[in-house]
């Protein structure tokens, strides 16, 4: 891994596979033990800096840090000096003076995590920057899908809902394609970013922007666009997004919420052939997701929450370990033998 995790683009497919293998092998079963803690990051300091409301992301980062034995400090913008007008730069410099090892940042503005990374020596994890990215959500989603489906190559996924305002969608469009999945975006035109087809792998390869045709332009593109739930017919996974009403102010993105519900709400009737439903949460029952589906075992929402803890532990662990490896140099030692000069090679003898 790089020094920071700011974007899902910081990781290659191999990086993702390796990171998620750590999460699966080392951290997933930890929660099932009586003692749910390992001493790995003992003495390290993690600061969770949250400028937006959050339940699962902030609790899972806090728990992840604690279960790795790090000292975890939570700073919430509404109860800190931020309310007194301190800038993000000054808050970062102040916190950096405590010499934290990891800063986790959630902020309403795009690029905030990268900005923080410029003013701290700590590893920075982007826990959501406005409408920018949410790479740890993407990683836990990939993890949940791997647990359910195994190899993801060729798996078809539809991302349905308020894609325009969703940092989760942005990270997942990139991340899912990295894993070889075929992505279809399903949303009313007003909730799709203009030119989103350019995020398609094939579109990027060709260096062209796809047209505005409903099928996403060029045939064979990995990223398609549709404006009807009919597009769910041939997918294996439906990824639902919350209607981000708090980001709709001052804009006219939808004719009406009622029309959206009538045309885009996903329910049990859309599931067939073992389709699974994911949702990053929080869900709005009766809006993007039918109540019966929210209560159905066909959704993997709670598995995603469980995965989030293991994946975030793996991220913190690997940021620290991988950078230590980079510092220590390329040599590989083992318990069986250190690579120091030997003094008495000729006196080797086995004593049985």
């Amino acid at each position: 891994m790089n020094r920071n995790l700011l974007s899902i683009n910081d990781l290659s497919r191999e990086d993702i596979e390796s990171l998620l293998a750590t999460a699966r092998v080392d951290f997933l079963d930890l929660s099932k033990r009586d003692i749910k803690k390992v001493p790995t990051l003992r003495g390290r300091t993690v600061i969770d800096l949250f400028y937006e409301k959050s339940t699962r992301t902030s609790t899972s980062f806090e728990l992840a840090g604690k279960r790795l034995s790090a000292d975890v400090i939570n700073v919430k913008a509404d109860s800190s000096a931020v309310g007194k007008g301190e800038s993000l730069k000054d808050t970062t410099l102040t916190l950096n003076a405590y010499r934290p090892d990891i800063i986790v940042i959630r902020h309403p503005h795009v690029g905030a995590a990268a900005f923080v990374a410029r003013y701290t020596d700590a590893h920075v994890i982007n826990a959501g920057d406005g409408m920018g990215e949410h790479p740890t959500q993407c990683l836990l989603d990939i993890f949940s899908l791997q647990q359910e489906f195994g190899d993801l190559s060729g798996l078809k996924v539809a991302i349905v809902g308020d894609i325009l305002h969703s940092r989760v969608a942005r990270s997942n469009i990139i991340g899912f394609q990295k894993m070889g999945m075929k992505v279809t975006l399903v949303a009313p035109p007003g909730l799709l970013p203009r030119g989103v087809e350019a995020l398609g792998v094939a579109g990027q390869r060709a260096g062209t922007r796809s047209s505005d045709r409903p099928d996403g332009g060029r045939s064979g593109a990995d990223l398609k666009v549709a404006h009807s739930l009919d597009a769910l017919a041939d997918v294996g996974v439906i990824y639902l997004l919350r209607m981000q009403k708090e980001r709709h102010e001052g804009g006219n993105f939808l004719p009406s919420l009622r029309e959206y519900i009538a045309r885009y709400q996903v329910g049990l009737r859309h599931l067939s052939d073992g389709k699974k439903v994911l949702h990053p949460g929080p869900i709005n029952r009766g809006v993007e997701i039918e109540g019966a589906l929210a209560d159905s075992p066909e959704n993997l929402i709670l598995q995603q929450v469980e995965a989030g803890l293991a994946v975030r532990m793996a991220i913190m662990y690997r940021l620290i370990v991988d950078s230590a490896v980079a510092d220590a140099g390329a040599a590989v030692d083992t318990e069986a033998g250190a690579a120091k000069p030997a003094a008495e090679v000729k006196n080797i003898h086995a004593v049985g």
């Binding site: 003692i35 990051l41 620290i320 003094a343």
Partner: protein, 194 residues
């Protein structure tokens, strides 16, 4: 830093007999097979534990519990040189984790590893075990004791004592991982010239 001085110090035949002897010694220590569990430290310790358990089952006709332990998360040097060991593990195509398919509470646990060197791995393994339960007793079986302990740890069962210098490397090769059974000693070029 590749070894220029490589010598087979234990052959496949000898290695097989040594493992049989350790299996007998563990049983000889007047232990109840039902209360006994072998826990091998990844990677080669785990294979050794399974071999020992199989032999002990042949000798006693009773099943012996066997598990595997990964100690990466318990190392005392996660952010220092030891992270290289962690990293080389993570670079493997399929990383293995801890698998203890039984309760270790009130059991006699025999930790199994291939080479005993500084003792730091064993310290980490003991810490890890205690997070899974409270064994009544922990013993240590190693195929090779090469000396240079940095902690007050001593093995209960030893296959071979191989006194070495710091610059040498003991490689236990097992057919399950390496295609053949042998123990080789490697020295570095620097070691030979100094």
């Amino acid at each position: 830093m590749s070894g220029v001085f490589v010598k087979t110090v234990v052959s496949a035949d000898q290695l097989g007999r040594t493992i049989v002897r350790i299996a007998h010694e563990i049983l000889e220590k007047d232990q109840e097979p039902g209360q006994l569990a072998l826990v091998g430290i990844h990677t080669r310790g785990a294979h050794l534990a399974h071999r020992l358990a199989k032999l002990m089952e042949q000798f006693t006709g009773q099943q012996i519990a066997v598990g595997e332990l990964d100690i990466s998360l318990y190392r005392d040097d996660v952010a220092a040189r030891g992270s290289l060991t962690v990293r080389s593990r993570l670079a493997q195509p399929e990383i293995k984790g801890t698998n203890l398919p039984f309760s270790i509470d009130d059991m006699t646990i025999v930790l199994v590893d291939d080479v005993l060197f500084t003792g730091r791995t064993i310290r980490a393994a003991i810490d890890a075990l205690f997070d899974y339960g409270r064994p009544s007793c922990i013993q240590l079986a190693v195929l090779v004791d090469r000396g240079h302990r940095e902690l007050p740890i001593r093995p209960d069962f030893v296959g071979k004592n191989l006194p070495t210098s710091q610059g040498e490397r003991i490689n236990v090769r097992l057919s399950e991982v390496d295609g053949e059974d042998e123990i080789v000693l490697e020295a570095t070029r620097e070691g030979v010239e100094s």
